[in-house]
Symmetry: C2
Subunit: 160 residues, 2 copies
Amino acid sequence: MKSIDTLLSRLRQRGLRITPQRRVILEFLVNEESHPTAEQVYQRVSSLMPDISRTTVYNTLRELSDLGELAPVQDLSQDGRRYDTSTEPHHHLYCVACHTIIDIHRDFEGMSLSPEEASGYQILSHQATFYGICPDCQSPASVATQAGWTVDPDALNSET
Amino acid sequence: MKSIDTLLSRLRQRGLRITPQRRVILEFLVNEESHPTAEQVYQRVSSLMPDISRTTVYNTLRELSDLGELAPVQDLSQDGRRYDTSTEPHHHLYCVACHTIIDIHRDFEGMSLSPEEASGYQILSHQATFYGICPDCQSPASVATQAGWTVDPDALNSET
DNA sequence: AACCATTCTGTAATCATTATAAATTAGGTA
DNA sequence: TACCTAATTTATAATGATTACAGAATGGTT
């Protein structure tokens, strides 16, 4: 994450106000690498500012994500848990617009961690996820629904 | 997924009864590759058996998952959405026991799809997730908490 | 046909998250 | 410095996915 000062000026640039709540949330996040949930951020920040509202934490995390200063850990469960009838190890190709998932049944060589990278973890499995836009969603009419994902319009079909 | 007959005998083997509800859910799932949610299974199955309960669908999907005949699409949001302070593309190493996430900041060569594999998708990004057990969770006392993941006990430390 | 443990069902509870609307306040202006 | 107003915070209610529960129904064996 960027430095506090950089983050604060970004907020100002975008017309957002610097409140004590946002400040304390940012101060917590700046050096945090634990991938916390909103609840965990709330718990930690509450110890410094006991009257902060849970809602403010949720809102601030969402705003920072919208600004691109924070990223929700991606998952394929936007509309609830998905079930896979293939129980063999495999990979996924996911349409970020309509959430269609296609299975990729092959191995990717070189997709493994060195002992240093594994940092003591006993590795059980691994899985790749490819994010993209499926053919049906590549029409101009569909582009509007792909909020949160930057797409080069020139790369898409465009016959009005 | 296995054939209906195979699935039905598996259920019997494990002492589960063959009910019309389970039968119709299995019949829907057998040739399904769309990674449906419980709600989507319910909608489809309702058209064949209008009085089936949503709860039964949820329960059956959970039971099939417990039996290993179905797999929930894995995600790292078991305790709610996680936030990542690193907004650069990177990969994840996830402890299936305590849910700790460590970032892996490097590229894996060869982790890309051929045009045929991409099946028309415009690929935007990709991400690898490594599932494992972190050093803290490899102690015998921690093993009990790792339900749902098969671990070879001999591979773990074991001094009482 | 009878039995009973299992299963199904509807409802309520739970958990994470978002919507809402009223109270407060950041930050520019007189 | 005091004021003004739109942005923000807050508490509460609403939502959506999922699970808990408890009573009614039933699969499969005797």
